[in-house]
Subunit: 351 residues, 2 copies
């Protein structure tokens, strides 16, 4: 297969972890006879510094014409304490999601047996957890009309959803449930919000097309509780943009393996793959960041092209590294810590 991959390394540790994922992907490509062309492009604070905007048109061109996007992380502390700065890295992220139509954010939370003790939860609560959130990513209150009135003393954000947007996301949820345990949970706040009632009635109407899928409906506040109490009682969860933002981050810390969690953002044309850990500015350039989440994101990318064996080879390499203790300091537990590059080299040599 010939693959054209846009490479958006971004800020902080982004470039370092992306470098390792490229290395491992290239090793896979060589082993399985694929040809990857990497197309680097600017994004985030790095792009603001270079050209004054976080998602420049030139970057959009690269992404649009690629078969997939591999993304590092964006965000820089110089923007953190000023949410009303005229140009911010996050705006680039939102613009990119909208412009590429990345409507479904896929966020798995699973456990690694060797890392269970890193979880803040007791072992019996977290063991066996293997869930996936599908978060709607291009609608809702993120993209509705927002602004001020009354000389700035009143602010508003409008949350809007259309039936088509809900169907598109829910369809992915039903399909994913069919490949797993056939359990789907629709998370909403239908006892208060009209948009949630639209979500619920739309999903209810789709149930008949997937008679094997058992669908449950839960309020967002109840899910925020049960995720901590019994995370392994969930399988596939679908939800709107803002609820998804909060719940996927909550879910990411329960496993204790946050530094290893990949994600995908699927669009109709192109999809994007990225680690969830963010730009971790304090670690920039120190060769200590854990590259495994980015490597696992690249594995999701291969699988999304139907290259299941390739994806599995990458996952297996990560598991082997964990077992062999070839890990960065976040997982070293007092033992020997390898550098970002060394872990990348080991993985590339072991796929």
């Amino acid at each position: 297969m010939k693959l054209n991959i846009a490479l958006l390394a971004g800020d902080g540790i982004g470039p370092e972890v992306i470098e390792q994922a490229v290395k491992v992907s290239d090793a896979i490509a060589q082993k399985y006879g694929h040809e990857i062309t990497w197309k680097p492009a600017l994004t985030g604070a790095a792009a603001i510094d270079a050209v004054g905007e976080p998602y420049p048109d030139s970057t959009h061109e690269v992404c649009k014409n690629a078969d997939a996007v591999l993304f590092g992380a964006i965000g820089h502390p110089k923007y953190d304490n000023d949410p009303s700065a005229p140009v911010r890295p996050e705006q680039g992220l939102l613009k990119m999601r909208k412009a590429l139509g990345l409507f479904a954010n896929v966020r798995p939370t699973f456990t690694f047996p060797s890392l269970l003790d890193k979880s803040p939860l007791k072992r019996e609560r977290i063991e066996g957890t293997d869930l996936v959130f599908l978060r709607e990513l291009t609608g809702g209150i993120y993209f509705g009309e927002k602004g001020r009135k009354d000389n700035g003393d009143t602010a508003f954000d409008n949350c809007v959803y259309t039936r088509t947007e809900v169907q598109r996301l829910a369809k992915k949820g039903f399909e994913l449930a069919m490949t797993r345990s056939k359990k789907l949970c629709c998370v909403d706040k239908a006892n208060v919000l009209e948009t949630s009632r639209l979500w619920r009635e739309t999903v209810q109407a789709m149930e008949k097309d997937y008679p094997e899928v058992e669908v449950s409906y839960e309020f967002v506040d109840a899910v925020a509780m049960r995720l901590v109490q019994w995370p392994n009682s969930y399988d596939v969860l679908i939800t709107e943009n803002l609820f998804g933002d909060i719940l996927t981050d909550e879910a990411s810390v329960i496993s204790g393996s946050m530094g290893l969690m990949p994600s995908a953002s699927m669009g109709a044309e192109v999809s994007l793959f990225e680690p969830i850990h963010g730009s971790y500015p304090q670690a920039t350039g120190l060769n200590i960041a854990n590259p495994m989440a980015t490597v696992l994101s690249a594995a999701m990318m291969f699988e999304n092209f139907g290259l299941m064996e390739e994806g599995k080879a990458m996952r297996d390499a990560v598991n082997k590294a964990l077992e062999a203790g070839v890990v960065t300091e976040d997982l070293a537990d007092g033992g020997k810590a390898y550098g970002t590059k060394e872990v990348g080299d080991w993985l590339a040599a072991n796929v």
Copy 2:
């Protein structure tokens, strides 16, 4: 003191737990020479069944003219799977909050040494946790314009906040922080929402009036994570209505003492006190519900009248009961379980 208390027992286990709180409050009143007149009124599913609405005008009259409201729980399974039913118990709750102007929901999360092992979190993560959320309760997306367009295919919910609403809530937050560790965390999503930017700039402008309070600003998704990782790193948190709904519920399960958590909803004129556990319909009438959260809610009520000693006597009685093992089955851990009434009797005899 002469106290006029509206008594809204509500649904499910509400009436049973309220009965115990009344018993214990009466014992306190007798001991300290107060006179409480209880004014029962209908609410929730019970009110729908009786008069067709969940918060009838007659109930509002009783609440408005009372010195405080003691509230049980509302909600009934017959409404659960139909969020678009024309009349629902929750509507009564929202109507009541708005009509009584209960703008600040006070939700503490603390631990009881004897119950630490009930937490889903590891002991070292939860030990020492003692935080309070102040959730804005009468604004935001709950009360903004909502509806449908395009023949029902588009739904919208508008989130609106005014500077005055934010100031009113934040003032309570600063004041509460001054009585505690002087740490205040403002939770928002200022990197995306205009209402959050209004929250943040309003709180920032108030900092100078409370120079001793150390204020931090965190995004809601980050708080959803840190609540699970390091709950004891928080003290007072202020936030808007919907974020508060999700985060206070998340916080309620981390301590392992959910069945014991009280809450208050403060208004300019009257305030309301209620356990957070809800109506727990399966347990209705079985004399197994834990009345301690309601008793602790009554303790908050006394303290809100400035009757600190009375409140403390009630808390102490609960602590003594926990130590003596006079507990309902949720806390009995295989040992002897007392009934709801028996725990109430014991507490009344021991204040």
